[in-house]
C-alpha cells in the first residue's frame, strides 16, 4: 500500500524533467547554432581571432646571443679541432715529424687520434691564444713566420693530421691567405664596432681549388663580423688547384679574421 502511494504521489518531476531536458537541448542547440553561424557556416573561420595582434617571430640565429666559445660539432671528426684541441698535437708530433720524410708522416696520425679524441679538451683555453699563432712551439723547421701588421699580430701555424702541408706548400698557404684577405669587405661589419674578438671560419679546399663546407667555428660575438667573414669565403669562386704532388683529396683551412676599426 505504502509503495503505491509513492507512485501516486508522483510529483510533478516528470514535468520538471521534461522542462529540464528541453532547456538542456535548447542550450545545446543554441551553442551548436552559434558555433555554426559564427564560424561562417562551414567552419571557415575556425580559429579566427578577434583582431588580436600577431607576434613577430625572429630566427634565433639573428638574435645576437652572447657567443658560446664551445667548439661546434659540425666540423669533421679529425684530430685537430681548433685552439684548445689542436694544442696537444704539436707537442706530440713535432719532434718526430721532422726527421721522417713527408710520405711517412702522413701515416702517423692513424694510431694517435684515439688518444686525443678521448680527451675532453683538457687544456685551459688561455694557453691556446698565444701558442697556436706562433706555430705550437715546434722547432723551426717549416717556414714559420711572425708578422706584425698594424694592430694585428699573427703568424702561420701548421698543425694537423701528420700534415706537413703547411711546411711543404707554404706558397699555397700564402695564396689562400691573400685571396681571402682580398675578398673580405670590412665595411660589411657594423660600423659601431670598434674592435672585436677573432672569428674563426673553417672550410675545405678540394683538389680543384674549390672552397666548400664553410662554417663559423668560433664566433666573435659580433654577428655582422661573422657574416662578413662567411661572405668573404662565399665570394671566392676558387683557389688555385691543390699542388699536383699532394696526395690528399682535400685540405682543411681554419682562417681567423681580426677586425679593428682603423679610424
Amino acid at each position: 500500500m505504502a509503495s503505491t502511494e509513492i507512485f501516486f504521489e508522483r510529483g510533478r518531476w516528470g514535468h520538471d524533467l521534461a522542462w529540464s531536458a528541453a532547456l538542456h537541448i535548447g542550450v545545446t542547440v543554441a551553442i551548436v547554432a552559434y558555433a555554426w553561424v559564427a564560424t561562417g557556416r562551414n567552419g571557415s573561420n575556425w580559429g579566427a581571432g578577434g583582431g588580436g595582434s600577431a607576434m613577430g617571430v625572429s630566427l634565433v640565429s639573428n638574435v645576437p646571443l652572447p657567443a658560446n666559445p664551445v667548439q661546434t660539432e659540425n666540423v669533421l671528426a679529425t684530430e685537430s679541432k681548433g685552439l684548445s684541441k689542436s694544442k696537444p698535437q704539436p707537442v706530440v708530433e713535432e719532434p718526430t715529424a721532422i726527421p721522417i720524410a713527408e710520405k711517412n708522416a702522413k701515416k702517423k696520425p692513424v694510431p694517435q687520434p684515439t688518444a686525443t679524441q678521448r680527451q675532453p679538451r683538457p687544456q685551459p683555453v688561455e694557453e691556446a691564444s698565444n701558442v697556436v699563432p706562433f706555430g705550437g712551439g715546434g722547432p723551426v723547421s717549416g717556414p714559420y713566420a711572425m708578422f706584425n701588421a698594424g694592430a694585428a699580430k699573427g703568424g702561420f701555424g701548421f698543425t694537423g693530421g701528420g700534415g706537413d702541408f703547411g711546411s711543404r706548400y707554404a706558397w699555397y698557404v700564402r695564396v689562400v691567405n691573400q685571396k681571402v684577405s682580398e675578398n673580405w669587405l670590412k665595411y660589411e661589419v657594423d660600423p659601431r664596432i670598434q674592435d672585436a674578438n677573432r672569428v674563426y671560419v673553417t672550410f675545405d679546399i678540394e683538389r680543384s681549388g674549390r672552397p666548400t663546407n664553410v662554417q663559423v667555428e668560433q664566433s666573435s660575438g659580433v654577428p655582422s663580423l661573422d657574416e662578413s667573414a662567411v661572405r668573404a669565403l662565399q665570394r671566392i669562386d676558387t683557389f688555385p688547384p691543390l699542388p699536383s704532388d699532394y696526395s690528399g683529396s682535400k685540405v682543411s683551412v681554419e682562417f681567423w679574421f681580426d677586425y679593428k676599426r682603423s679610424f
Binding site: 689542436s86 687520434p113 694585428a152 693530421g161 711543404r168 695564396v175 684577405s181 685540405v251 681554419e254
Partner: protein, 446 residues
C-alpha cells in the same frame, strides 16, 4: 651489467668509426687576416740554352722577354731586378743555390728558371718554378714544352708558362697572357675591327668591309665577334665567326643598332636600337631570334653591359634625366637603379667578379667646366668610386681583362686616339697601339 655491456658495445662500434674518420683525416692549414701578405718577390733569370744550336740566341731573346713581360704585367708579383741576381746561369735544378737567392740582395720568394734548345724543326723548353725559401721541397711547377722552332712559337710557350705560374701563385685565376684584345682601327683608311695580343703584339685586321665598323665584342667562348657596321641603309649588328673565318648572317633589325653585348653564358645579346624611334635596349638570342625590348623611357638608352658573374643584370647608359648617366636593371628590365647622378657618364663595363663597374665620366660637364673625361671604377654594392686616370686627354671605352686585374681603354693623351692598358687600381698605364687611330677596345673572356 646490461648497461656496462651496452656501453661496451657502443664504444666498440664507435671506435672503428673514429679510427676510420681519423684515418682519412685531411691536413689543416691555419692562417688568418692581418698577416701582412705582400706581393710575391719573384726572380726570373734568363733561360739558358741547353745545346749549341745557332738559332737559340733569337729564340731565347723572344722567350725571355715575353716571359718577363708576362709576369711583370700580371700585377701580382714584385719582380726582383736582374741586377741583383747572382752570377752564373741557372738552367736546371742542380744549378740552383738556394742561399744566393733567398737572402739579400735578391731576397726572392720564388724562382723561375729553365732551359731552351732548338733541335731539328722543334724547340724544347724545360721550365721550373721553385719556392726558394723552402729548401726541403722547393718545386712548385716543372713543365716541358715542345713546339716549332719559330720565334712566334717561343713567344707562345712563354705565354703558356707564365699563365701556369700566375694560375698557381695568383689565387686560382687564369693568367691573361694568351688573351686577345679586339678594337677599332682606322689605319687602313676605313674603321675596321682589328685584333692583337694582350700586350699589343701581333696586331692584325679581322674585318675588311670597307665601311665603318664599331663596338666589337667577342663572345665568351671566343668563337664569334659581334660588332656594329654601317650598311648603307643604317647601322646593323654583324657577326664574324672565327671558326669559319668569315661573316655569318645575323637578323636585320632596322634603325640604328649599336654596341652589342654578350651575356656571360653566350646565349643572348643586348644592344641599343632606334627601330622604334628613340634608342632603347633590346635583348635577342645569339641566333637572332626572340628580339624583345627591355627599356621604354624617353631619352636615349645605349651601351648595355651584362653582369659577368650572374648574367642577370645589365648596366647601361640612359639619358632619361637629361645628361647620360649609368644605370643598372635586371635583364628583364625590372628593378632599375641609378648609379651616377652628375656630369656625363658613358661606356660602363662590368667586372668579371661582378663587384665593380668601370666607366668613363666627365664629372664636371657644361659651359665653363674643366671637362676632363676619365675612367672611374665604382663598387656596385656601396657605390663608392675611385678615379683611375688623371693624366689628361679624353679616356673612354674601358673594358676588363678576364682576370679582373687589368683594364684596357682608349685615350687621346698622346695626341691621337690610342688603346691603353692599366692595372685595375689605375697604376702601370701603358700604351698598346701606335699607328693610326685605335679605339673601342674589348678584352676577350679567356
Amino acid at each position: 651489467m646490461v648497461k656496462q655491456h651496452f656501453m661496451k658495445r657502443i664504444s666498440n662500434l664507435l671506435l672503428p668509426l673514429v679510427l676510420l674518420a681519423s684515418a682519412s683525416a685531411q691536413d689543416w692549414i691555419k692562417t688568418g687576416t692581418g698577416l701582412g701578405v705582400e706581393k710575391v718577390r719573384i726572380a726570373v733569370p734568363d733561360f739558358k740554352a741547353s745545346n749549341s744550336d745557332p738559332r737559340n740566341a733569337d729564340l731565347l731573346k723572344t722567350f725571355n722577354d715575353t716571359l718577363w713581360n708576362d709576369l711583370d704585367n700580371a700585377g701580382i708579383f714584385e719582380m726582383v731586378s736582374k741586377s741583383f741576381y747572382p752570377l752564373g746561369p741557372v738552367g736546371a735544378p742542380g744549378d740552383v743555390k738556394f742561399e744566393s737567392w733567398n737572402a739579400p740582395p735578391p731576397n726572392a720568394a720564388m724562382l723561375v728558371f729553365g732551359n731552351l734548345a732548338a733541335a731539328g724543326n722543334n724547340i724544347n723548353v724545360q721550365g721550373w718554378l721553385y719556392d726558394v725559401k723552402n729548401i726541403a721541397s722547393p718545386q712548385v711547377l716543372g713543365k716541358q714544352y715542345t713546339d716549332a722552332a719559330t720565334t712566334q712559337a717561343a713567344g707562345m710557350i712563354a705565354h703558356k708558362f707564365a699563365d701556369e705560374i700566375i694560375l698557381r701563385l695568383g689565387g686560382g685565376v687564369n693568367g691573361i697572357a694568351e688573351t686577345q684584345i679586339y678594337y677599332v682601327s682606322a689605319r687602313g683608311g676605313h674603321k675596321e675591327i682589328w685584333a692583337m695580343d694582350y700586350d699589343g703584339a701581333n696586331q692584325h685586321a679581322v674585318t675588311t668591309l670597307g665601311t665603318i665598323s664599331l663596338s666589337p665584342h667577342i663572345s665568351p667562348d671566343g668563337s664569334r665577334l659581334a660588332f656594329s657596321s654601317f650598311t648603307g641603309a643604317g647601322w646593323e649588328i654583324r657577326m664574324y665567326s672565327f671558326d669559319l673565318n668569315r661573316l655569318v648572317s645575323f637578323t636585320k633589325i632596322g634603325g640604328t643598332n649599336l654596341s652589342p653585348a654578350w651575356s656571360p653564358d653566350g646565349t643572348h645579346l643586348a644592344f641599343s636600337s632606334s627601330r622604334s624611334g628613340d634608342p632603347e635596349i633590346y635583348v635577342v638570342d645569339q641566333s637572332g631570334a626572340n628580339l624583345h625590348r627591355i627599356t621604354s623611357s624617353k631619352g636615349p638608352d645605349v651601351s648595355p653591359t651584362w653582369n659577368r658573374k650572374t648574367g642577370s643584370q645589365i648596366a647601361w647608359v640612359s639619358g632619361r634625366t637629361g645628361l647620360p648617366q649609368v644605370y643598372t636593371m635586371g635583364s628583364d628590365g625590372t628593378n632599375v637603379q641609378q648609379y651616377t647622378d652628375q656630369g656625363y657618364a658613358v661606356s660602363p663595363a662590368w667586372s668579371p667578379n661582378g663587384q665593380f663597374l668601370v666607366f668613363s665620366w666627365m664629372r664636371h660637364y657644361g659651359a665653363g667646366a674643366p671637362g676632363a673625361q676619365d675612367i672611374y671604377i665604382m663598387d656596385v654594392v656601396s657605390k663608392q668610386w675611385v678615379q683611375l686616370t688623371h693624366d689628361g686627354g679624353r679616356n673612354d671605352f674601358p673594358s676588363w681583362s678576364p682576370d679582373g686585374r687589368h683594364i684596357v681603354f682608349q685615350s687621346t693623351r698622346s695626341g691621337s686616339t690610342q688603346v691603353w692598358e692599366m692595372l685595375a687600381d689605375g697604376s702601370n698605364q701603358k700604351q698598346l697601339t701606335n699607328s693610326g687611330n685605335n679605339s673601342e677596345p674589348d678584352w676577350s673572356w679567356k
